[in-house]
């Protein structure tokens, strides 16, 4: 992996991990921000994936470790943390089968692991085992989230991983990185009303 750009500086202009394609080569690799709103953050909106925030974050972090994305590995979604994500759970991802992670998390991570490594080895038995813990609708979200979070392969291969310095903190739902949509605003207000901290400390201090 590399955090040093492998493309010329003039082609780097306009690069962003997610956003809207403005036609430049660098922007062409961006993940459309609406895709990330639907899949990539553990905030449930009317149209988004609907997984437990801790499970969502563990799937994202499993792929971050497997793909060796420094930026992704060191970011934490505050909603997952406020829902009970602990660092020992994150540490266990590299050896989840032998870990103390709950059985439902292990069943989900078997899907994530198979998708990231060798999907051809995935079996009906593994799918049926996951159905003991999740609805089929949740399994769809688990598969698609596992897929979505492999998108970092492009960023890493191009040497455009922003690195851990850019992300070693908690990310809050109101931050610009998530963009803005009516669905998201509604979900944020719901989280706020339920007592979650949705604004970054820097935003609160600036008021």
């Amino acid at each position: 992996m590399s955090t040093t750009p492998r493309i010329p500086a003039d082609l780097l202009e306009g690069f962003f991990i997610q956003g809207e394609d403005d036609g430049s080569p660098a922007a062409a690799i961006a993940i459309p921000v609406e895709l990330s709103r639907l899949a990539g953050i553990p905030i449930q909106t009317k149209r988004s994936f609907r997984l437990d925030p801790v499970l969502h974050e563990l799937i994202r972090l499993y792929n971050a470790k497997y793909q060796d994305c420094q930026y992704c590995q060191n970011a934490r979604q505050t909603i997952a943390v406020q829902n009970g994500l602990e660092e020992d759970m994150v540490e266990a991802l590299g050896h989840f089968e032998e870990s103390n992670l709950p059985d439902n998390i292990k069943a989900a991570l078997r899907i994530t692991s198979a998708l990231a490594t060798n999907p051809g080895l995935f079996t009906d038995d593994l799918w049926d085992d996951a159905l003991k813990y999740f609805s089929e609708a949740e399994l769809i979200d688990i598969v698609l989230l596992s897929m979505h979070t492999t998108a970092s392969k492009a960023t890493i291969t191009l040497g455009l991983d922003p690195g851990e310095e850019a992300s070693s903190r908690q990310f809050y739902p109101t931050e610009d990185v998530y963009g803005s949509s009516a669905d998201l605003q509604e979900a944020i207000e719901d989280l706020r009303n339920r007592g979650f901290t949705v604004d970054a400390p820097s935003e609160i201090a600036a008021r």
Binding site: A28, P32, V143, M147, A154
Partner: protein, 171 residues
């Protein structure tokens, strides 16, 4: 038949499974189509089929990228894909891109600066960017389809207008 039992209505199995997350499906496929359109279609199709072979997605193997077929990609060449290092049907450019594709599928984080430099002898820097994006979405799509065990159908999904069924082009 797909592992997913509770399907939505749709003309193909892909639509019936991915349609369970319809907003995501439509946005992802729009990104997929755009990503493939930025490169030489023959190179794209060779790499797409190689990805599908490696991750064992029978759905992805059942369709062909029409712009590549229109540009002259033969079924004979696709059939020789597994032997691309030695087959005379492939150019050095194609061999280098396919080797990079295999690295991408097996473990992309192991791709070194030297591997990239080798690829950059056959692709421009701009093409390299588009190539990574295309590999990303082709790899993602085939992996999810393999986990869902989506089977080939008798029609091409409307979300893949630039594709045709293998049996309609393999003549």
């Amino acid at each position: 038949m797909t592992r997913v039992k509770d399907l939505v209505h749709g003309p193909t199995e892909l639509d019936r499974v991915w349609g369970l997350r319809d907003d995501y499906y439509r946005l992802f496929m729009a990104d997929y189509r755009k990503a493939l359109s930025n490169l030489d279609p023959v190179l794209v199709e060779l790499c797409r089929v190689r990805v599908a072979q490696m991750v064992e997605s029978s759905f992805d193997l059942s369709v062909r990228y029409s712009p590549a077929i229109n540009a002259g990609l033969s079924q004979e060449k696709i059939a020789a894909l597994a032997d691309y290092p030695a087959s005379p049907l492939f150019t050095d450019r194609e061999r280098t891109a396919l080797e990079f594709t295999e690295q991408w599928v097996i473990q992309s984080s192991s791709i070194t600066d030297e591997d990239v430099q080798r690829l950059l002898t056959v692709l421009s820097a701009e093409e390299f960017i588009y190539f990574c994006k295309a590999l990303s979405v082709m790899d993602q799509f085939a992996r999810a389809n393999a986990i869902f065990a989506i089977e080939p159908g008798d029609a091409v999904p409307a979300t893949m207008p630039d594709f045709a069924l293998v049996q309609t082009v393999a003549v």
